[in-house]
């Protein structure tokens, strides 16, 4: 389905507006995080997914309460996609007592199991085998669980990801492997680190279906990733979905981001989800006001949440040794 199929006020336009609102929430969240980091309120290495929000937006709602989502250090949007309250996310990134992990996880190791978000992981590829375990548990607890594990293009070259894909395939575990291909691994382009840059083809090595989708289009993500969820839930085993996307910013806040190829920025600016959805909504006749409100509402929400998080006390050092053992 393309944008031009949708008449004003149609279901598609409605969906796209909802999607744009979600994309904007993720983007406004991260732009606020960047502001906090540059102001020194947040410290350390922070990895933004600005530009990649189409994927997490399309996925939002696919995971049921019994499911489990595993992300990487670039996982803020995934936490939001799972419904983790943004104030608790800001709090975590700001090292507050009210952070979702009381400051123990920080930006790169967020965990919120109550929201089916089983966490970020700062070791490339390490979340994939862990997701297999969540799926395995579902086979024994009667929960019908699907485990979604998200990782980058670069992670495809990590041994643990290979082992996970084989493990899930051999045992037909309900795992959805989602590769967010932003074409860069930190500062290195994926096409120089593999012989065949069509990464989804690797699925065949495990006898598992694989496909490449447009990660900028939440609707496409919803449909195709949704199919993978369904296959997994019905016992068909794992799928590898390669969502093509782009990060519009540096690998981490502070990365001078000077390694881009000629024409890359222009191309990315055109296809990134805010641009794409805005264009589509305009074409479907949705009003500029509604489109603008998606952004302004999101910014207002994030301003308020960040302010509340900032007002909370810092994590209490006296508790730092707790919870190591039962």
């Amino acid at each position: 389905m393309t944008a031009t199929d949708a008449a004003p006020g149609s279901a598609t336009a409605g969906t796209s507006l909802t999607d744009l609102r979600m994309v904007w929430r993720m983007r406004a969240f991260e732009e606020k995080v960047r502001e906090l980091r540059l102001a020194g309120d947040a410290v350390g290495s922070i990895h933004l997914g600005i530009g990649q929000e189409g994927v997490a937006t399309g996925a939002s709602g696919l995971a049921g309460p019994q499911d489990a989502v595993f992300a990487t250090y670039r996982g803020h949007s995934w936490a939001i996609s799972c419904g983790v309250p943004v104030e608790a996310l800001f709090g975590e990134i700001l090292g507050r007592d009210t952070g979702i992990n009381g400051g123990r996880g920080g930006s790169a190791h967020l965990t919120a199991p109550a929201y089916r978000f089983f966490g970020e992981n700062s070791i490339v590829g390490a979340g994939a085998p862990i997701a297999c375990g969540a799926a395995l548990a579902g086979r024994h607890d009667g929960s019908d669980r699907v485990a979604l594990t998200v990782f980058g293009d670069g992670a495809m070259n990590q041994g643990a990801v290979h082992e996970a894909m084989n493990f899930a395939s051999a045992f037909s575990l309900p795992v959805v492997f989602l590769c967010e291909n932003n074409s860069w691994s930190e500062l290195t382009p994926i096409d120089e680190m593999v012989r065949d840059p069509e990464l989804f083809r690797r699925a065949a090595a495990y006898g598992m279906p694989g496909e490449r989708i447009d990660g900028n289009d939440p609707q496409e993500v919803r449909e195709r990733l949704g199919d993978a969820f369904e296959v997994a839930r019905e016992g068909g085993g794992p799928t590898l979905v390669e969502a093509m996307t782009q990060r519009l910013v540096g690998h981490y806040i502070g990365d001078a981001d000077q390694y881009r190829r000629p024409g890359e920025r222009e191309r990315d600016a055109e296809r990134e989800p805010v641009a794409l959805l805005t264009r589509r909504l305009r074409e479907s006749g949705v009003s500029d006001d509604e489109i603008a409100a998606a952004e302004s509402d999101a910014r207002a929400e994030m301003e308020a949440a960040a302010a509340a998080a900032l007002a909370a006390p810092l994590a209490d050092p006296a508790t730092a040794k707790e919870h190591l053992y039962a």
Partner: protein, 343 residues
């Protein structure tokens, strides 16, 4: 094998429905412990390479697949997938017991222990837990190559958040494994393949679940305290018997739990005897013997002779038995070293 534990293991939980004493080898005791855990904890899963249908390369898991169906399964040769999936399954409410066939192989997937498993509880402030039991075995045996001969407990003992034990007797092979699986913490149980077929003797099954910790006074003595663990215990006891014949009275403390470690009891014994030695099969530098010595020294225990560490010299382990024999401390070498040390 006398068991005159001064620091009896604390127990929790009820004994299992059926209490029983059986003649078992060490390997048989491991099997019995797994069977009990699979029976009494429905959340347990048991998996690893060759452990299900074939019953394990050492036969230790025989019969469990047959009796517990797909809760017991074989895996690909993928240690990262084994350990990683155990972490994930535990996060979601299972209680996985996984086998790493040789401790040496854990190194291909060490990340899943050090960066993943032990962070689960801490980072989530206990909202998530990871009650994974990792069973493995280690140690040198005649003819084994350098990649199958290491004693690596010290690597794991430097990792906060992981409990570690090394049972030596068949009874402990049973009790410690049951304790490990019941524990809400991740526990590494390091067995020893040379012991699997050995040590047939009465093993009490179905007793109360113990808590991690405690030590075993294997021999009382007055001239020196010797701390040891794992298969090395037998060699130390043999050395102690030899020395007793010469009028040297050695107290032998086996510490099957290394995390938590019974520092107070060890220090108290050393204070009494005025001499402390630690004997392990791991190579000396950076071995856990250093930690034991440093803890006792740190407590200000006055010793009449400098503390002694006996371990493998800092070298790789050669395959040829004649070469390895010159390196791995045996009963005679241990006795000789202690004799000379105590002057």
């Amino acid at each position: 094998m006398p068991d005159t534990a001064v620091s009896g293991p604390a127990t929790t939980g009820a004994p299992s429905a059926t209490q029983d004493v059986k003649e078992l080898t060490y390997g048989g005791a491991v099997n019995a412990a797994l069977r009990r855990c699979l029976e009494e904890i429905p959340e347990t899963l048991l998996y690893g390479e060759d452990i299900a249908k074939p019953g394990g390369v050492f036969g230790v898991t025989r019969g469990l697949r047959r009796d517990f169906g797909d809760r017991v399964f074989d895996t690909p040769i993928s240690e990262s997938a084994i350990l990683g999936s155990a972490v994930g399954a535990a996060m979601l409410g299972r209680r996985p017991i996984v086998e790493i066939m040789w401790v040496d192989f854990s190194l291909v997937a060490f990340d899943q222990v050090v960066n993943q498993l032990v962070n689960v509880r801490y980072v989530s402030r206990g909202e998530l837990v990871a009650p994974v039991t990792i069973r493995t075995q280690q140690g040198s045996a005649p003819g084994a190559c350098a990649q199958h001969s290491q004693s690596l407990e010290a690597l794991f003992l430097h990792v906060p958040g992981l409990r570690v034990c090394m049972p030596w007797t068949a009874q402990d092979a049973y009790d410690l494994l049951v304790a490990a699986v019941h524990s809400d913490d991740p526990v590494l149980v390091i067995e020893n393949r040379t012991l699997y077929p050995a040590g047939t003797g009465p093993v009490r099954l179905g007793g109360p679940v113990q808590q991690p910790g405690g030590l075993r006074v294997r021999r009382e003595g007055t001239d020196a305290t010797v701390v040891t663990w794992g298969a090395m215990t037998a060699r130390v006891l043999e050395a102690a018997a030899t020395l007793a014949g010469e009028g040297i009275s050695v107290e032998v403390l086996e510490t099957p739990w290394l995390n938590p470690f019974p520092t107070d009891e060890v220090a108290a014994s050393a204070r009494r005897t005025g001499a402390l030695a630690v004997v392990h099969e791991a190579n000396t530098t950076g071995g856990f013997g250093a930690e034991v010595v440093a803890r006792v020294a740190g407590e200000g225990v006055a010793l009449r002779v400098p503390p002694l560490r006996v371990g493998l010299p800092d070298t790789r382990v050669p395959a040829a038995p004649s070469l390895a024999a010159g390196l791995v401390p045996g009963p005679d070498a241990i006795a000789a070293t202690i004799r000379e040390w105590l002057g």
